[in-house]
Subunit: 146 residues, 2 copies
């Protein structure tokens, strides 16, 4: 049984982010990859949609400039033949401030011939924004939507 | 081939939220269900963790008091024998204000004997908070984390 594409991609992604080594990663991304990490792109320009290998490598470079992956725990995982989804808890370090950032994400990945072809990532964005701001955002208690 | 537990659960959940009919849903939830929708519980008391069927039915009642499901699109889905994950885009109506709320969520569900046993839901919470507030939250552009 060959190794699932997710494991190869995951290792290469973390190597890219933590060691800024991109050569393995490039071989594991489809030329026409469709990539989206949903979130407030005004605050975090490396979130949002990207299309094509070059744009995706570039955005991973931007992510690598901002954070290091300290550890991650895969809380849930589903593997298909050429697909995978998981929920993960990341412990990141913000490179400028050396502040810890703790983040839960969910991803859905599709592979084609072993290469990442489609990625959708959802992040608990409010939690991320508060940690990045370094302070809580005051929220009204909503008995209802305003 | 019998119908996947996800479809039964999904129909019963939407019937519970939109029509406040809970009888189908109760039969589809394990007595010891472990349930979590991650998000700011100070603002939305119906988010957070719940344990056991009674607590889960109660939180679904609370959700039903606040929103109606106008429509939903399942953007990605993975089905296992007793598990399922998907990313969905929901169009909700806030019942008090009749405001539309558009929301992307990811869920991971595990079933046991056809009943929901574990549910983890991640929401694009910053987007949700802004829509509930009815105004954008001003964010600094972060070249880096503060």
């Amino acid at each position: 049984m060959t190794e699932h594409s997710l494991w190869r991609f995951s290792r290469a992604l973390h190597r890219a982010i933590n060691e800024r080594r991109y050569e393995d990663l490039e071989a594991l991304i489809d030329e026409d990859v469709d990539w989206a990490i949903y979130g407030p792109i005004d605050m975090f320009p490396f979130l949002g949609a990207r299309r094509g290998r070059e744009a995706v490598i570039e955005v991973i470079r931007q992510i690598a400039e901002h954070v290091r992956v300290h550890r991650f725990d895969r809380e849930t995982i589903m593997l298909g033949e050429e697909s995978a989804s998981s929920m993960l808890r990341y412990s990141l370090t913000a490179l400028d401030s050396l502040k810890p950032i703790s983040l839960r994400i969910a991803h859905f990945a599709q592979f084609r011939a072993g290469r990442l072809f489609n990625l959708r990532v959802l992040v608990d964005t409010f939690d991320l924004v508060e940690q990045a701001l370094g302070r809580p955002i005051h929220l009204p208690k909503m008995a209802s939507f305003a």
